[in-house]
Symmetry: C2
Subunit: 118 residues, 2 copies
DNA sequence: GGCTTTCTCAACCGGACGGTTGACAACGGT
DNA sequence: ACCGTTGTCAACCGTCCGGTTGAGAAAGCC
């Protein structure tokens, strides 16, 4: 799974991982701190962080034996851009269909939109 | 996996599924039409559509034996809201840290931010 | 009534995923 | 020098996922 968009989306598809992101938005934290609230092992959280890191959502620096985890904001833009594009298109299309329907006072049968006008 | 956000994110974590969404943004399409470009079976695409439908990204109506697939825009807002929240928080935090660093001419040692002041 | 088209359901397969346990590397405290 | 803390790596396990094939439901065409 090479492409960055897939990595980001699938990283955020996990509730625990989303929760971690939420908490990192408040402030950096160590792995142990992050693991505390959940009843899973530290190793599991470490794995989650690796996923988030590979997706570019998070970076880990070195500070003595601690590894503070930091939320990286830029990657969000990648998603936002993708989403916005298609959301806009879909809404536009919806609006246009609405116009078509309004401009069609005697809706009879036959297939309405979509079909090639030939 | 009950929660809606997880469903949407993981639905969009697949490139094929994202591609389908992209094409549906242009206009509704049938399963066969959607399957054509890919070298997978129609069944596989049907499965993808089920995933997208369960995520609320897509709706399928009945029109004779055809099942036109329609892109649903509202769910995008769910994601956008989630993303925006944490992106904003992260950026804010970044800005604030920047201020702190600028207001700290004689950075010596001791742990800077984050540590419990005890 | 048959045949074709369109699509879904069910069963199966290999690979990825989330979790565990166990070992160990790296560093600080005393 | 030793121990404790912090964190990762490796191997394993059950489940989910994306794909296949095969069968069948639902509707139009002739």
């Amino acid at each position: 799974m090479a492409d960055p968009l897939s990595r980001v989306f699938s990283a955020l598809a996990d509730p625990t991982r989303r929760d971690i992101v939420a908490r990192l938005a408040v402030g950096d934290a160590t792995v142990n701190e992050l693991a505390a609230p959940y009843d899973v092992t530290v190793q599991a959280v470490s794995k989650h962080l690796k996923v988030l890191e590979d997706a570019g959502l998070v970076s880990r620096s070195r500070e003595a034996q601690r590894r503070p985890v930091h939320l990286e904001a830029e990657v969000f833009d990648l998603m936002t851009k993708w989403i916005e594009r298609y959301r806009r298109q879909a809404e536009e299309r919806y609006r246009r269909l609405d116009d078509v329907l309004r401009a069609m006072p005697d809706a009879d049968s036959a297939e309405p939109q979509e079909g090639s006008p030939s």
